[in-house]
Symmetry: D2
Subunit: 336 residues, 4 copies
Amino acid sequence: MTTAPVRFGLIGTGRIGQVHAASIAASANAELTWIADPIVAGAEAVSARFGGRVTTDAGEVIASGEVDALLIASPTPTHVDLIAAAVAAGIPALCEKPIDLDIARVEALRPTVAAAGVPVALGFNRRFDPAFASVRARVAAGEIGELEQLSIISRDPSAPPAAYVAVSGGIFRDMTIHDFDMARFFLPDIVEVSAVGATLFDDGAREHGDFDTAVVTLRAASGAVVSISNSRHSAVGYDQRLEAFGARGFLQVANAPSSLVSFSGAEIVEAKPPYENFFLERYSAAYAAELEEFVKLVRGEASTSPTFDDGRAALLLADAAQRSATEGVAVAVDLG
Amino acid sequence: MTTAPVRFGLIGTGRIGQVHAASIAASANAELTWIADPIVAGAEAVSARFGGRVTTDAGEVIASGEVDALLIASPTPTHVDLIAAAVAAGIPALCEKPIDLDIARVEALRPTVAAAGVPVALGFNRRFDPAFASVRARVAAGEIGELEQLSIISRDPSAPPAAYVAVSGGIFRDMTIHDFDMARFFLPDIVEVSAVGATLFDDGAREHGDFDTAVVTLRAASGAVVSISNSRHSAVGYDQRLEAFGARGFLQVANAPSSLVSFSGAEIVEAKPPYENFFLERYSAAYAAELEEFVKLVRGEASTSPTFDDGRAALLLADAAQRSATEGVAVAVDLG
Amino acid sequence: MTTAPVRFGLIGTGRIGQVHAASIAASANAELTWIADPIVAGAEAVSARFGGRVTTDAGEVIASGEVDALLIASPTPTHVDLIAAAVAAGIPALCEKPIDLDIARVEALRPTVAAAGVPVALGFNRRFDPAFASVRARVAAGEIGELEQLSIISRDPSAPPAAYVAVSGGIFRDMTIHDFDMARFFLPDIVEVSAVGATLFDDGAREHGDFDTAVVTLRAASGAVVSISNSRHSAVGYDQRLEAFGARGFLQVANAPSSLVSFSGAEIVEAKPPYENFFLERYSAAYAAELEEFVKLVRGEASTSPTFDDGRAALLLADAAQRSATEGVAVAVDLG
Amino acid sequence: MTTAPVRFGLIGTGRIGQVHAASIAASANAELTWIADPIVAGAEAVSARFGGRVTTDAGEVIASGEVDALLIASPTPTHVDLIAAAVAAGIPALCEKPIDLDIARVEALRPTVAAAGVPVALGFNRRFDPAFASVRARVAAGEIGELEQLSIISRDPSAPPAAYVAVSGGIFRDMTIHDFDMARFFLPDIVEVSAVGATLFDDGAREHGDFDTAVVTLRAASGAVVSISNSRHSAVGYDQRLEAFGARGFLQVANAPSSLVSFSGAEIVEAKPPYENFFLERYSAAYAAELEEFVKLVRGEASTSPTFDDGRAALLLADAAQRSATEGVAVAVDLG
């Protein structure tokens, strides 16, 4: 007996929407049936490559009766309404992060999602990266003893345009939010946030009162401490490292080499080409795994992960970091 | 203007045939229209996944008028006749290595291929590996000065079944043949072969008078020296390394890590999981690139590489190595 | 013309005193003429190996007229008085860190040292480590552009005895103090300290209200941000890493391998033996270089570095970290 | 009870003689009492640094009655007579490699050494390198299963002067001889030698009919195969690597980094400074360990290793390699 592919409606066809469209098309368990984007040319381009009917109206997709699942990859301000609509229509949704930049809107939606019984998964793709997932499993298996320190380095290749910075919600809500979720992947119960921000090189950040550099320290209920280092630029390419430290040693995730080649000469030895440039390359396997896991969820073969509440928790941590960095105090948080 | 995909006929649906079928299916520039295998179930299984009409008769494919290119992945003894038939029909062919185990048959076919003007490419996939190709390009660009020493380590995860060993033509014609071609990728004009073989662990090799361990030294016309180390088993997984050494330094190709994770503890530090297990994983990018390059060749946008004569040269080197290992003499070769 | 060796008086013959005695003995430019320790057996043991007259009274050494330089390696509470006595006698002194656990005593001594014109150097040995010194020089030369982030990992192999913890002044004054100085080696002008401490595994720390785990964030006047991660235990051996990050890339100091050997097998590959166990092994070259630099200072061939004021600054940072970790606020500091 | 230091007579004060003088001086178990060199200025310079009486006549040292051990570091042609004289005088000797360039002279001396009962050790310092010794011990302990392949890369930083090449005995007797001994450190019973030489860059080698590049394959009685790669130049510094391969995996010795620092930027990542430049740096620990082991031998606390017969075996292999490279045949050897 074969199972019919899960029929996806894709909302939004920007960079991340295209990633998901490709994942859906590449999966034997999924197909792209509807694509919505107010900019119809974007939707049509995706349709040309991967199939699916095109509309400018997300509501048409939800009402079509021809989608088993919704992939919400539209701009952040649309997420809350789309999740609400999906839940109302009984259609499981995978929504890109963040749920919203305004925690009040998230809190308002929360009871609806909790009551509906329709799966809503959050697009924290890094949880599905084979390396991070492996470290988490090995930590859980006790390989390093109790987790005492978790260190995350996360630096983007280059700062986004000033116009993006203006609406991004700031570095903590836009960029560190991935690291907050990664911290919670290992230590769900974070109780305190201390953050230091700096604006060292990016005019866009300076113009909009944002930071381009940040260091965040989290304290977990277990007592474990998390360190996050962010920068909006990185000469080496996408810089994504993690170290989980415990009494028996540590597990590390290294940057992804772009090549197996190294050069050794009179001035330098063992020099490699730069790392994978950015998230599309670095996390390609993660996006594919994320889609497959969501398909299982739609089919009732998996539980929701990461959840709406994981998305809310990451935003709460971002808000706390913003306050800590601004006021110079450690901020207690309650994610319950 | 779009170009129609190159229509492929696939002959043979064993392990390597399936690899090529997947590459064809994944390419925007190719499609699988015919599949031939005397074991029809194999052809049908491939067809179910990737499309294409099925037959037990390769001749039907060639005569169909519905293939622009032939991918010959059938057992070695069939290669010579299939190449001849493809050439006669004017259909470009990509043929798996080796052309044949008998150099006399290869020599007999050679004038036909040379005269025909129909491209015949040999399936030395490793030339298309990004790492090896990069090293070759950097050597050619003079980064390490004149190439003086080339060292190749090539070890399979585990010895093949004794039945396979029996018909393999021996380790030099079956396994080292890839390394002979890799040597010639850097140094086409090899003039001398010295080989030492040993049978240390594999009962199949012992039974059939073959070696399971081999070390080969080649001398190039330039004076450069090539070292090849082979083993029919490798605990770490597929062990595929290369070092190109010159006056200004060396370029190395490392084994492919299967993960970005490392563990450090009280007994060991920086320990990684084993390497990619075997050629399907290690050379997946190479197979895809090989297919794309062959498509260009079929379309007249590239020249043939590696050629039928490259296939012949590798076999001449294998024959010379067999003689050298048996007789304990350095064997001069003339690949002209 | 040869220069006579600098005659050293060594005060204190514990672990670190023995290190300095060996460095003095190994140097062609220094000799050990006097050794003082209230526990005379310790002094005698050092004298038996490296020469020098023995006394239980440090004052006798200072008054002897037979020492050109004083090496103060006695317990911390004795440092202030010994520095004062050395300065009064016009004898240059190299004093182990910290100057004192009480900043008031340091401040009280400060004008005396400043006015005296007798060199007083502080034993922050890590500044003399070839790797850290090289990174600092390369950063100063602009290799990574402006320094934006400095990350220091510093973990001891195992927690000290509870009795030591009781008088240590706490993790920030005892252990992190080295990292504060390392931070100031790169970024002398630190303006703000945020610290988080945790007590996760060490009963001695728990008993005495100390932390065994700490994460400290410093902000420099330049805007650069420093991250320090400490632990009182480390399964891999002494864990001493540093990364200097700027717009053009980063420079890293790796842990010191204890061997050039690695093992690759079916379960793990490239596994190395653990790192050098502790500071005596890891920083042996640094101790020797520190001594040689101090000899130059005594001879008037070098300026004082690190200075008494560097010692004071590190203690101010430790005090600020203690307050930050306790009160949950970022603490502004003025090191001027 | 303390043991008196072993009194050494040093014969020869060239580069390697100075190394040994320093090792003797640094050892608590040895002292330098006599130094002989026809060039008296050399002997006097060593004496000034490390002590010892000076003479131009090695015989005076042997006859002095003031040496417990002889360290023969004079030019190769003097070794045989000095060993004979030491043995006749009942003085244990540590002789630098090679014993002689002429196997006939070695064979003539052999019965004398065998009969005398006076220890004669050969200066194959690499056996005492901690990394090589560790790999050998781990192989012996079965960590990789039966040893199947041993790969040695050994490249000097730069070619010696032509005048040196003229009297060196050729690359196999001068340079590869260390690698032959290293091969026998793992696999004492070598039965066959195949060698390929090339002259690619060194005018001195060309002028004197020598090779500057060599690849040697050895076959052991166990069936294991050894690969040696030599070059008389190496841009990266002294290139000394080894890999022991067996059924369960492999153990590798990497080159010695000269620094713990690496640089990562936009063009390259993880680039380290060049390796230790040459044998004095790379093998400093080995020279010290060699001396200590020889002291134990003199005191009757250790057995001779490597022996005179090890020196003879290495020369037999070098002679066989020379013949193999010249005649293009595998050469059987009997080291019994």
